[in-house]
Amino acid sequence: MPRIIKNRQIVEDDWQVLALAAGETPDTVPLPAAPVLLPLSVWQARRDEIIARAAPLGVWLDSHEGPEALAGDIDRFTVIGVNFPKFTDGRSYSSARLLRERYGYGGEIRALGDVLQDQLFYMQRCGIDAYALRADKDMEKALAGLSVFSEAYQAAVDQPQPLFQRRPVQEPT
């Protein structure tokens, strides 16, 4: 079974990710058996049919797609994927924060795509808690990426108070 990093551990995972191949359309693509992360377009085209399947629901947002599109349905999803087509495409950091901080999503947010060790720390801060590391990378080593810094200045999902609200009173070094 494929493995992912989840809650800072390596775990086995049987969610599939559906991506539309050339020529496939959201209306007609066959839906794989659950559990599956469906493209947003498929969710939007066949919402009622998908809900009727009564399986754990999953959807994934590409980097140009926003969580606004899921607003009323957020709590139906067990897993929401956020895609990083290239690791230098930073849009999904904003999507993840919005899912947590604006839409109050409490389920799993999974990073998909070009997911690499050196971005995990930022992803974690933005509320992503599961990482489908790129297949050619060493997962054991990548875990270290979650613990690069012991403190951070900004408020974010993992630490809603910025450092200036928490800074211990001490003499400058």
């Binding site: 690791f87 950091y93 924060r97 930022y122 690069v148 810094f149 200036f164 070094t173």
Partner: protein, 569 residues
């Protein structure tokens, strides 16, 4: 100056560890060249024409003497004993060894310095007024706000992979010395009608191939909302800025596409969700930060030191220097001093390790141990007693730091250009040197008076040529170096982008073209006019006509005929 506490230090130390690990994973083949590139850029490491270049952050231009000494030591030990100050108040080392860069960062961390986010598509070094805290025309000290922004932008988890680089500048003075409208965000500290302190926020400025001045996105932002408001702007930019074309990826293009009203409306909508949240900055934090910038122990002195006044009368060379390099200070009996890094024979902004040590000594002896870097690529000692100026001048002179040309024609802003930069279309430092040769008479330079001449080796405009009275831009025609000239640009409150005067020139022609432009000014000026004033009064045509008089211009330049790889920047 801001001093790290244990947490700040720990974060910077952890950054060094992270970077060291990234470099060793790269050398072990676990991190490809493409995977490493954005990571090393966010630690200031470029790969340039001759090899690596390391850009070291100097937050809002503030340096302690001990830090400058460390830079001297690093430049001697790991480089060729020379550093280059940039328009963004940073320092570039042009000859470090790739494998030694982790060691350099560790050395920097030992004096509370780093190279964090000095490149890459993230929030860059925050820049400000080099006279911050001492300028008579200042509303309040901008540095506590700069430091707040430094901390907010350092490893911001949401904004590390923006569409493009993001530059922020802060001004708090009546006269803008930080070119805030040439930045992605420009912050102008102002008071509202109730005397509350806040910011006029400009957005969408930038130079490069599409020079645009920033527009007001909000007339007044109370200071406590600074971070949530910037989060809102950055979030919009991160989500909707263009990523399909690197030349159209800066926020200025997004602002232009939406129009400032619509952009502003979208910012307000996003901000309404973030406002008054945990990132609201309490007064206690502003007070804590301000405490780091408490004024030094200025003495109570007479406004005019009689000895100083006497020396100005008797020592002509000293008087020349005072006229151009000594600036007003808000405290009686004190002055700020600019140490010119624009001596003939030296690339503008370059400084040797010996000079760095000399400046550190001068700072400790005469200016409370602090130095500032100006975006014009000079150094400033901000708190010198008038009565010490003469002695300081004598010592600085022995280190070639007293060229009396600040604000004059030879105080050129100049990028490293084709000598060092892989993106260059043409060399820029030889042009600067040719200007020095042509205008080597200081009396003549003083007579010409206030003028700015800036040089960039390509459209990326690192040398700020767009906002110079006379701008020189290297262009590439059929693999030859040519130079396009713009006039009428300026920085400051009346910031403006210069206009191209016509087809470009050969390198050898540039000094005489500048001379022609100056001649038109001298012939037409009234007593009180600077170059820019005369130009604005009589218009560009007389300058154009003189610049091309007697020149054959049948071969026309095509700007940017070769598209350059700018992924590195």
């Amino acid at each position: 100056m801001y001093r790290y506490d244990k947490t700040d230090q720990q974060i910077i130390n952890e950054r060094v560890t992270q970077y060291r690990d990234q470099i060793s994973r790269h050398l072990a083949g676990e991190l490809t060249t493409d995977e490493l590139r954005p990571l090393r850029l966010q630690n200031g490491l470029y790969i340039q024409r001759h090899g690596p270049m390391l850009r070291i952050a100097i937050p809002y231009g503030m340096l302690a003497a001990a830090q400058l000494r460390k830079l001297a030591e690093i430049s001697r030990r790991y480089d060729r004993a020379v550093g280059h100050f940039t328009t963004r108040q940073n320092m570039q080392l042009n000859w470090p060894q790739f494998e030694e860069t982790p060691a350099i960062l560790a050395e920097l961390a030992s004096v509370q310095m780093h190279a964090v986010q000095t490149s890459g598509n993230c929030v860059r070094n925050i820049t400000s007024d080099h006279f911050a805290g001492i300028a008579p025309d200042e509303l309040t000290d901008p540095r506590p706000y700069c430091e707040l922004l430094r901390q907010w932008s350092t490893f911001h988890p949401e904004f590390a992979f923006l569409p493009r680089k993001f530059k922020i500048a802060v001004n708090a003075a009546a006269v803008d010395r930080a070119v805030i409208r040439a930045h992605d965000i420009g912050l102008d500290l102002v008071l509202d009608d109730d005397g509350e302190i806040g910011f006029r926020v400009f957005v969408g400025g930038g130079l490069g191939r599409t020079p645009i001045l920033g527009k007001v996105v909000r007339e007044f932002l109370p200071r406590r909302h600074l971070l949530s408001y910037l989060d809102a702007i950055l979030r919009l930019y991160n989500r909707y800025g263009r990523r399909d074309n690197m030349y159209k990826a800066r926020i200025k293009i997004l602002v232009q596409a939406l129009g400032i009203e619509e952009f502003s409306r979208q910012v307000e909508a996003e901000w309404s969700q973030l406002k008054d949240g945990p990132t609201t900055v309490p007064d206690a934090e502003f007070a804590r930060l301000a405490g780091h910038f408490n004024p030094p122990a200025w003495e109570t002195l007479p406004a005019e030191d009689p000895l100083h006044a006497a020396r100005i009368r008797t020592d002509r060379a000293f008087a020349h220097w005072v006229r151009r390099c000594v600036h007003a200070h808000k405290t009686p009996g004190y002055a700020a001093v600019t140490l010119s890094l624009k001596a003939p024979g030296v690339a503008p902004g370059d400084i040797s390790d010996a000079q760095m040590r000399a400046v550190a000594d001068l700072a400790e002896r005469f200016s409370f141990g602090e130095v500032r870097v100006s975006h014009e690529q000079n150094l400033v000692l901000a708190d010198v007693r008038q009565r010490d100026l003469h002695e300081l001048w004598q010592i600085a002179r022995s280190h070639r730091l007293t060229t009396a040309n600040i604000g004059l024609l030879t105080d050129m802003i100049c990028c490293p250009g084709g000598d060092l930069c892989a993106l260059a279309n043409a060399r820029s430092t030889p042009i600067a040197e040719a200007v020095h040769q042509k205008f080597d008479d200081l009396d003549y330079l003083h007579d010409i008076g206030d003028i700015s001449l800036n040089i960039s080796g390509c459209m990326n405009s690192c040398g700020h040529h767009h906002v110079a009275n006379i701008g020189i831009l290297g262009v590439d025609k059929n693999d030859e170096e040519w130079y396009q000239i713009t006039i009428g640009g300026q920085q400051g409150n009346a910031a403006a982008i210069g206009k191209v005067i016509g087809p470009s020139f050969y390198a050898q022609e540039v000094p005489s073209v500048i001379e022609a432009l100056i001649a038109v000014y001298l012939e037409n000026r009234t007593d009180s006019e600077r170059f820019i004033d005369t130009l604005q009064r009589i218009g560009i045509d007389p300058f154009k006509a003189r610049a091309y008089a007697g020149r054959d211009r049948r071969r026309t330049a095509k700007v940017d005929s070769r598209e350059k790889e700018v992924v590195n920047a």
